[in-house]
Amino acid sequence: MNWVGLAGFGLVILSAILMAGLAFLRRNSTPVFREITAFARLRKAIGLSVEEGSRLHISLGRGGLTTPQSAAELAGVEVLRRIAELTSASDRPPVATSGDGAVTILSQDALLASEQAAFSTGYDPAAARLTGLTPFSYAAGALPVIQDENVSANVLIGSFGVEVALLTDTAERGNTSTMAGSDNLSAQAILYASAQDPLIGEELYAAGAYLKARPFHTASLVVQDILRWLIVIVILVSAILKLAGVL
């Protein structure tokens, strides 16, 4: 193993130990998060959709589980699962769209699991759909869902590219609110201009913690903060050493 691999492995082990330790230490404490407007509005949108009998549309993007974008997709599936649990009292379950076969199966599984947890028998396999396999065909297939299925709010969370602008534009025209986050830089810039509540950077991965807040979710956010500070220190020290001619 070269030193880069060793450093990477060390970082993973350190993160795992920190996360397990912090989750154990904070298992009884009440989590405190900084306010992210998007999540506060999402909670309101969930409540409103149950009251109005409208649907929430959760778009998981077009990333696959065999690609580096899998973490964003899995974070999206976790959000879908949580939203499905919170809206299980509603007549209209949320509708999920994705651009990958495996993600579609996971989203169907998430909807089924939440129905089972609520002892409901209203599971509809068509509530989780594959809308297209290429970026634009995925977006084109998701547009009718936003327009025609009595959707009151859209949660776009996963891996999107520039095609996400078509989804946010359609949502805006239909007067539905949009919370959106992507792991792609171009999509984040577009979402900043076009979505009502954009999630920037790692906020996408914090969605699970904001909607659920179990000890491991809280611990994972603290670990992210610790690692971020470590990286900041390493960058600053490296810059100083480079200026001093040591490196």
Binding site: V12, S15, L74, A102, L106, P125, S194, G201
Partner: protein
């Protein structure tokens, strides 16, 4: 169901750990096992693609059956999908007929949607200029929106040559490179570091079994 959930979690955690450790630690038996697991996963993902296609077909068939709005598009989609699938299976993906279907239908349709994006993004930028009370739920301050728009304009003016003027001297030589290569690059790296850390902790949560994107969660009850 509870035992089934625990069993699937145990399998997921074990395979996840083998693949993760096999990525860093180069041991022949571990490496072979990791490659075997990844190959199984690729085969399963290909099967999942077919399951996804059946899902797509059933959703649109239901639309047709229930005479929902836009049923004609569902009919076109089903016919196109079946024709392409049969031709692809019969002729193979490298045949000129298959290439021409892609070049004459898929490519122009996607290029048109890409072109549509230019209009959509211009419209989104104009919306940023609207006062907060007309911008629905938009919460960002006008100062940040103004900075966003001014930066976009500076980059556009500095990148594209203007008629009769050509490249604008200071803007093209100094300001645009500074924004693109220093400010934007620094911001992008910061965001990418955040995304990488988020991916790492998401993966670890799944390895610890705190997030279970598969099956029912035993801690949440249910059947």
């Amino acid at each position: 169901m509870k035992l089934k959930g625990l069993f699937s979690t145990a399998i997921a955690i074990t395979t996840g750990l083998i693949v993760l450790v096999g990525y860093f630690v180069i041991l022949p038996p571990l490496l072979d096992l990791r490659i075997a697991i990844l190959n199984w996963f690729i085969i399963l993902a290909a099967v999942a693609l077919f399951v996804g296609l059946f899902n797509l077909l059933s959703v649109h068939a239901n639309k047709l059956r229930n005479k929902e709005k836009g049923g004609i598009y569902s009919l076109i989609l089903i016919l196109s999908l079946l024709v392409t699938l049969i031709l692809g299976l019969w002729l193979g993906p490298d045949q000129p007929v298959m290439a021409s279907i892609f070049n004459a239908v898929q490519l122009p349709a996607e290029a048109s949607l890409m072109a549509l994006l230019a209009v959509t993004l211009t419209y989104a930028c104009i919306r940023l200029l609207r006062p907060a009370q007309y911008a629905g739920l938009r919460s960002r301050t006008n100062l940040i929106s103004a900075i966003f728009l001014v930066t976009a304009l500076l980059i556009l003016l500095g990148t594209a040559p203007l008629p009769f003027v050509g490249y604008v001297p200071i803007l093209s030589d100094l300001i645009r490179p500074f924004i693109a290569q220093v400010l934007a690059a620094a911001g992008a790296r910061g965001i990418l570091i955040g995304v990488a850390l988020g991916s790492l902790t998401t993966g670890l949560r799944i390895l610890f079994g705190a997030d279970r994107p598969y099956g029912s969660d035993p801690s949440r009850g249910g059947k």
